[in-house]
Symmetry: C2
Subunit: 333 residues, 2 copies
């Protein structure tokens, strides 16, 4: 677990998009986002209080989160002074960069001297078990996609918000770097050793109250040749009771695989249900989540209506509409 709340480090982010991770924390866990720390020339602004390390620590912040992605994922010299000062001021550091905090000897040394922890969320911090396949109590929903980067994390986070707003018991379960930085814990599944993938998801979604829902962030796609094994481990480790199918209708080919078209929602549904029912014969598809950001509002709503009629389950864009109807579909199970 990464100690909260956070001071969000935006560094010298050239624009808002470069601060996507910090934006995600601010949007989905505003209670963790105490303030922002920007360097001269920073082009991003989360509309949070600009704080010095001292001010933020006095206000209760316990971790400085690197909320900015730069070219190459490296820790720049400009940042280093701030990171060292943060450790001295009593902050843990958290990062999802390729360039690991633990590979920087001066940070390792300073963390040791000040008794602080470096959280590299890109690498697992836990020795996960081999999956046992034993059914756990409580309910689980997994976002599965027709492709990578179609909105699976966003869908699970929106569902989490909608269910908690409705007074239902729910926990978002992060399986990727951004999700882990947003919520403070999770499994960096793409970095887990092959044999332990499904076991890491069992570990992430343990026994719970019978009416509690784990909302598991999906990864990759069963149809994506590069990452399908990761997706299947999520399905078999998560043993979901419900799937939400996630789709981006304007995409012309699988991400990174030119010439390979996306599966239809029907094909995706049928493939995912067959595999999910190996683990949980009662698994159903509860809804469809469509990322319509590249469509006009009129086109988006027409498409959603068409999908809903065709698939026989609620079809929504959680960004345009929220995930209330998906949450209702889950709570009705």
């Amino acid at each position: 677990m990464i100690p909260t709340p956070y001071l969000l480090f935006l560094g010298d982010a050239p624009d808002q998009l470069a601060a996507k991770v910090a934006q995600g924390i601010r949007d989905w866990r505003p209670e963790f986002a105490l303030g922002q720390l920007r360097l001269p020339g920073c082009g991003a602004d989360l509309k949070l209080a600009d704080m010095t390390l001292t001010e933020a620590h006095a206000a209760g912040a316990r971790t400085l989160v690197i909320g900015v992605a730069n070219r190459g994922g490296i820790i720049s010299a400009k940042w280093k002074t701030v990171l060292l000062d943060a450790l001295a001021a009593g902050f843990d550091l958290a990062s999802g960069l390729h360039n690991l905090l633990r590979d920087e000897p001066d940070l390792v040394d300073a963390a040791a001297r000040h008794g602080r922890t470096l959280h590299d969320v890109r690498v697992p911090a836990v020795q996960y078990p081999i999956a046992s396949g034993v059914k756990r109590t409580g309910k689980r929903c997994l976002a599965v996609g027709t492709d990578c980067s179609v909105g699976k994390m966003y869908t699970a986070l929106a569902l989490d918000t909608a269910m908690r707003d409705a007074g239902l018991k729910a926990t978002f379960r992060a399986t990727g770097q951004t999700g882990i930085l947003i919520t403070g814990d999770g499994v960096p599944l793409d970095a887990v050793i092959a044999d332990f993938m499904a076991g890491s998801i069992e570990w992430l979604t343990p026994d719970n109250d019978p009416d509690h829902w784990d909302l598991i962030e999906g990864q990759g796609s069963l149809h994506h040749l590069s990452y399908s094994g990761v997706s299947l481990a999520l399905i078999h480790g998560g043993q979901p009771d419900a799937l939400i199918l996630c789709h981006e209708p304007t995409r012309t080919h699988m991400r990174g695989l030119p010439g390979r078209p996306l599966p239809s929602l029907e094909t995706m549904r049928d493939t995912a249900l067959v595999m999910a029912r190996h683990a949980n014969p009662a698994c159903i598809v509860a809804g469809v989540s469509v990322n319509t950001q590249h469509m006009t509002e009129a086109d988006a709503f027409a498409y959603l209506a068409e999908v809903e009629a065709r698939m026989g389950v609620p079809a929504v864009d959680p960004f345009r509409q929220g995930a209330t109807r998906l949450a209702e579909a889950l709570s009705a199970l």
Copy 2:
């Protein structure tokens, strides 16, 4: 690549079964098995010449392979003297033990001093790429199983032998520790980082002659909840033209998962073909390989005839019958 030929170290193996890896090398790559080195009290015998390190090196052996599995997979003190002497005598060392050679400071030091290499086949030695999904030239056959440990490695090795005996172009592609020690190279797939699983199999089975067959060792099972992600990465990374279904008919539940029955061969076929055709729409099931070791010969042959009639493809036990009919089925494609 592990330098060949080998001197096979049997240590103080209590019985023949403990020397299973060495036996595999002797059975499948006799040309690599120059001799054996046994400690006092060794209960295993490969019927190879007993050689000292000096004799074996003079005869051309270049790697001392730890061909014995002991309790806990550790490198015992009794063995250490031999391993150090081997490095001094000009041998590389190769091991599939959990206890890595590279974690023994005295071995690391001796290897450095003598300019030798420690081959820990349990951990990847290569930074594999992300899978591209691009079709390669040449043909590929993958052994898929209804469960773990049903004979997938044995089947692929037997096919390799049968195809080469028939003058066909074929290469066994190892994906597990034992297979790697038998053949001298391969990918230890269960130890690969999740994101690179499919890419490691593309790397292992590159472009080849149009009439060349890669015979890929399978791992796990699409139906095994603990390891299914690994199996799917093999299917999508290998892009097989043909599958051989491997089965052990007397097994009462999935290995390590009490209460979970094995899928039928028909269910296995249908699941595997749907997934394989994502990558290669022309993929077919070329045959069935049955491990009948726990059946009488009469029962085995009756069962094989029944499966062959039911499935419409050759069904053989390669241990009892060889894999000639499976090789013929592949070469007919």
